[in-house]
């Protein structure tokens, strides 16, 4: 950023961010980790209407049908076209999420300090982030730039916040350029471009309800971070983690979670195999992970908070099972692991906006 920049105070969060000269308020907020509702992004729909409490803004190209004259006089503006001309305080129609810490997004280079296989097709990659002041909430993800690969790839952070190392779980996507590079080419000592943290998948502790985590495959990463973080901080409500994989060789961190279950009375760990082999000598839960959840909770999920992380079909099956058990979208939080090949996400209606 060059030239002048202004301070933008966002109410009701009471959070301040910097806005570059010429940058819109909406752009600055989104980049600063503050989500404002918006739709058309060019001054027509009025979804991003805000109040300017202090300071001066240029209203830009807001349509006279979307931003009325009296609203202009009363200091309203459309965030998608308004640009600060001084330090500014705005008030936006945002639900204050008491659990959102709005950690700032940083761009940085990090050195690879360890690579280890975790399961049949999953590798763990550890990055050294000690040089920067990187904060995130358990459950959030980062974007990696991978040499020779167009665009960025998202990976959830699997370590609990607070350490110097960032832990990523990378499943090899057959034919996927990004994950093949990370599995086959990347070595300790390499440096990767990282940006983050992103995402709104973090625990809603303020509701102090028992929590259910349902993970599929390498979707264990976020729940691992969240569970470790909660247990380390002495969270007292019940926590249940279900991890679904195909075979025994796909299961990882099994020992870690068995140990945590032994030492924490409020933590239950349920690994589930959908395709157990005779040589696995498996005596635990089998079938799909959502089916195991239904058995475990006797089909009734009311009064919980649920966190689902994994491939889209698992998420969809999980949501259906939870809703059938009377748990609805305000209490269901999801992180879908899409691969580049999944670009065509199923079309959703405004009914499921919140999830």
């Amino acid at each position: 950023m060059s030239g002048t920049s202004y301070t933008l105070m966002v109410e009701p969060l009471g959070q301040a961010i910097k806005v570059a000269e010429g940058q819109t308020i909406l752009d600055a907020c989104l980049r600063g980790g503050i989500y404002l509702p918006y739709q058309c992004n060019h001054g027509l729909c009025s979804t991003c209407k805000i109040s300017v409490i202090e300071g001066e803004v240029d209203l830009g190209d807001a349509s006279p049908f979307a931003l009325m004259d009296f609203e202009r006089e009363e200091g309203r503006a459309l965030a998608c076209c308004a640009r600060p001309l001084s330090d500014v305080t705005i008030e936006a129609d945002i639900d204050v999420d008491p659990d959102a810490r709005n950690c700032p997004v940083l761009d940085f280079e990090a050195e690879v300090v360890d690579i280890r296989p975790l399961a049949r097709d999953i590798k763990g990659i550890w990055l050294d982030a000690s040089a920067i002041d990187f904060e995130f909430q358990a459950g959030q993800y980062v974007q990696l730039r991978i040499p020779g690969v167009q665009g960025e790839r998202a990976f959830s952070l699997a370590n609990a916040p607070g350490g110097d190392r960032l832990e990523l779980h990378v499943r090899r996507v057959p034919g996927g350029k990004g994950t093949e590079y990370l599995h086959d080419v990347l070595k300790v000592g390499d440096r990767l471009s990282v940006s983050g943290p992103y995402g709104r998948f973090y625990v809603r502790e303020s509701s102090s309800l028992p929590m259910i985590f349902i993970a599929g495959g390498s979707g264990l990463s976020s729940p691992k971070s969240m569970v470790e973080d909660l247990l380390a901080r002495g969270f007292e409500q019940k926590i249940t983690l279900l991890h679904g994989v195909r075979q025994r060789q796909d299961l990882y961190y099994d020992d870690l979670f068995r140990r945590l279950a032994e030492t924490h009375a409020n933590f239950t760990y349920v690994p589930v195999l959908s395709d157990a082999q005779p040589e696995d000598r498996w005596t635990g839960e089998t079938g799909f992970v959502h089916e195991a959840a239904v058995r475990l909770f006797d089909g009734m999920f009311r009064g919980h908070k649920a966190y689902l992380c994994g491939p889209p079909p698992m998420i969809e099956a999980g949501i259906r099972a939870l809703m059938k058990g009377r748990l609805f979208d305000r209490d269901i939080h999801t992180e879908s692991f899409l691969t580049k090949a999944d670009d065509k996400a199923p079309q959703r209606s405004p009914l499921s906006q919140r999830m």
Partner: protein, 511 residues
């Protein structure tokens, strides 16, 4: 790196929290009278609500902001209407035939806005929760404004064209206007939850684009800038109405499992009721607009089939399936408009707008839009009628049609799997036989026969002598229709004569 430490100060209430205080604090447990006496309609439909506070306000608009916002919108709208009048905007429409779409809108739709006003005012009194009460009251005011602004927008045309002089009266009496009228009265006489499912969800959310887009885009395509501006002024309200429709459905489904089958039955019923009502729009789109936007089939695919797929996929998580008989609507989409326009051509002597046969150019468009049906079934019919008219024997249907007891449309629709056979269904109730255009309409009747046996069916009423007399002229006088002026074909009508004179003047005095 643009982070700054958060300031230590008292956080202000968010708009959501402030709105919640406004709405929730207006509700209280009554003590002078028991709650079930104060809210007598809230339980009998079988919907169970355990926690009214779980209602998520679909929009957060305070009355203060509402007045200011609407006042400015209306100032802008009336400025456009005024300049439209001063500049003789009616001279710039594509063709005077277009005004017939406005006649249908003013007599068929605008009175529904007024009915909606009454309906929302009524249910806005009868919910226990203050959240839905306020949402309904705001919408009641919107609907009243829409009725008024529509009437004002179109009143300019009444100075020049026929058939627009007594829309309110016609709505209560004219045979085909009993279709929209009875639709809304069915909703208004239901309980508060069914009313919202019918109007807010099924109509405003699922089907509204099929009504609104054709009329407003139709106005834009045909040079009617006044009506287009009305459309703009209503658009931001419609967005609110749609979110109310979604919220009520979600609220009922989440509150109690037992609500799911009740809601499903209402969705089935009101999908079919709304779809049958929209058959009037289908003919407007395919036949009445001189410059067309898209075909009925295309708009059904875009606004119901595609958008509806995403919605019902989400609703399936709650245990709700697609509305019953949606597949029949899909089968009918290639013939609906042709069948309805044919009914009006049959009974042009009793309609408050003009009819015509499509021109050769228009039939080319219809063939292209309906490659599987138009040339096979409808072009030959229009050709035959056109030949009869050329011989001076224009075809008029001289007997009154049998009406479907539920939707009240003449029985002109065909079997779902056979476009050449009229679809007849019937059911017996207390020794009387009732007739229906479809399985959808029959199911609705059979579930609540006591309600529908009371239907005011225009044809029956004429035969019973309740509509001004036995002759067409008598009935039309009772409708407040001017015989020989408002009715019959556009060809030869006073509307056409006037329009042609204007065009001749224009040609003689080029600007």
């Amino acid at each position: 790196m643009n982070a700054m430490p958060p300031l230590q100060k008292q956080r202000k209430l968010s708009l959501k929290e402030r709105y919640a205080h406004l709405t929730r604090d207006l509700g209280w447990e009554t003590t002078y009278q028991p709650m079930d006496k104060v809210f007598p309609y809230v339980a009998y439909e079988g919907i169970k609500i355990h926690d009214w506070d779980a209602w998520e306000d679909p929009f957060r608009l305070t009355m203060d902001a509402y007045w200011k916002y609407q006042a400015e919108k209306e100032r802008k709208l009336y400025a456009v209407i005024e300049s439209f009048a001063q500049n003789n905007g009616h001279l710039n429409i594509t063709d005077a035939r277009y005004v017939n779409a406005l006649k249908l809108f003013l007599t068929g739709v605008s009175p529904l806005e007024y009915s909606a006003h009454r309906g929302y005012a009524h249910v806005g009194r009868h919910f226990v929760g203050a959240g839905p009460r306020i949402a309904c009251q705001m919408q009641a005011i919107d609907e009243l404004r829409h009725a008024q602004t529509q009437i004002h927008t179109m009143s300019h045309y009444n100075k020049f064209f026929d058939g627009l002089h007594d829309a309110r009266h016609m709505h209560d009496r004219v045979w085909y206007l009993s279709v929209p009228k009875s639709f809304f009265e069915d909703a208004c006489t239901a309980g508060p939850f069914e009313f919202l499912t019918a109007i807010s969800f099924s109509f405003e959310y699922v089907l509204t684009n099929l009504l609104f887009v054709p009329f407003m885009s139709g106005a834009a395509y045909n040079g009617d800038m006044a009506t287009v501006t009305f459309g703009f002024s209503a658009q931001s309200d419609e967005a609110r109405h749609m979110t109310l429709g979604l919220e009520i459905i979600k609220f009922m489904l989440e509150q109690d499992e037992g609500n799911v089958p009740i809601v499903q039955r209402w969705i089935d019923k009101w999908f079919w009721r709304g779809y049958r009502l929209l058959s009037l729009v289908s003919m407007m789109m395919d036949y009445m607009l001189p410059k067309r936007i898209m075909s009925w089939a295309e708009s059904w695919e875009m606004y119901f089939e595609q958008a509806g797929d995403a919605l019902f996929e989400d609703l399936s998580r709650y245990g709700i399936r697609k509305p019953k008989y949606h597949e029949v609507a899909a089968k009918e989409k290639h013939r609906l408009s042709h069948e309805v326009w044919s009914i009006f051509y049959n009974y042009t002597q009793a309609a408050a707008f003009h009819t015509w046969l499509p021109s050769e150019e228009e039939m080319t468009w219809l063939s292209a839009k309906y490659p599987d049906t138009f040339d096979k079934y409808y072009r030959p019919r229009f050709k035959a009628w056109s030949e009869m008219a050329a011989e001076g024997k224009r075809f008029y249907n001289q007997t009154l049609p049998q009406l479907c007891t539920t939707c009240q449309i003449p029985m002109g629709f065909t079997e779902p799997d056979d476009p050449t056979t009229i679809c007849f269904r019937s059911a017996e109730y207390k020794g009387e036989r009732y007739h229906f255009c479809s399985d959808g309409c029959k199911d609705i009747f059979c579930h609540e026969p006591e309600k529908y046996v009371q239907s005011w069916l225009p044809v029956h009423q004429i035969y019973m002598g309740n509509c001004g007399g036995a002759e067409v002229k008598d009935v039309l006088a009772w409708y407040h229709l001017n015989f020989g002026v408002d009715n019959f074909d556009y060809e030869g009508s006073p509307d056409q004569k006037l329009w042609d004179e204007w065009q001749a003047q224009k040609a003689a005095n080029p600007v």
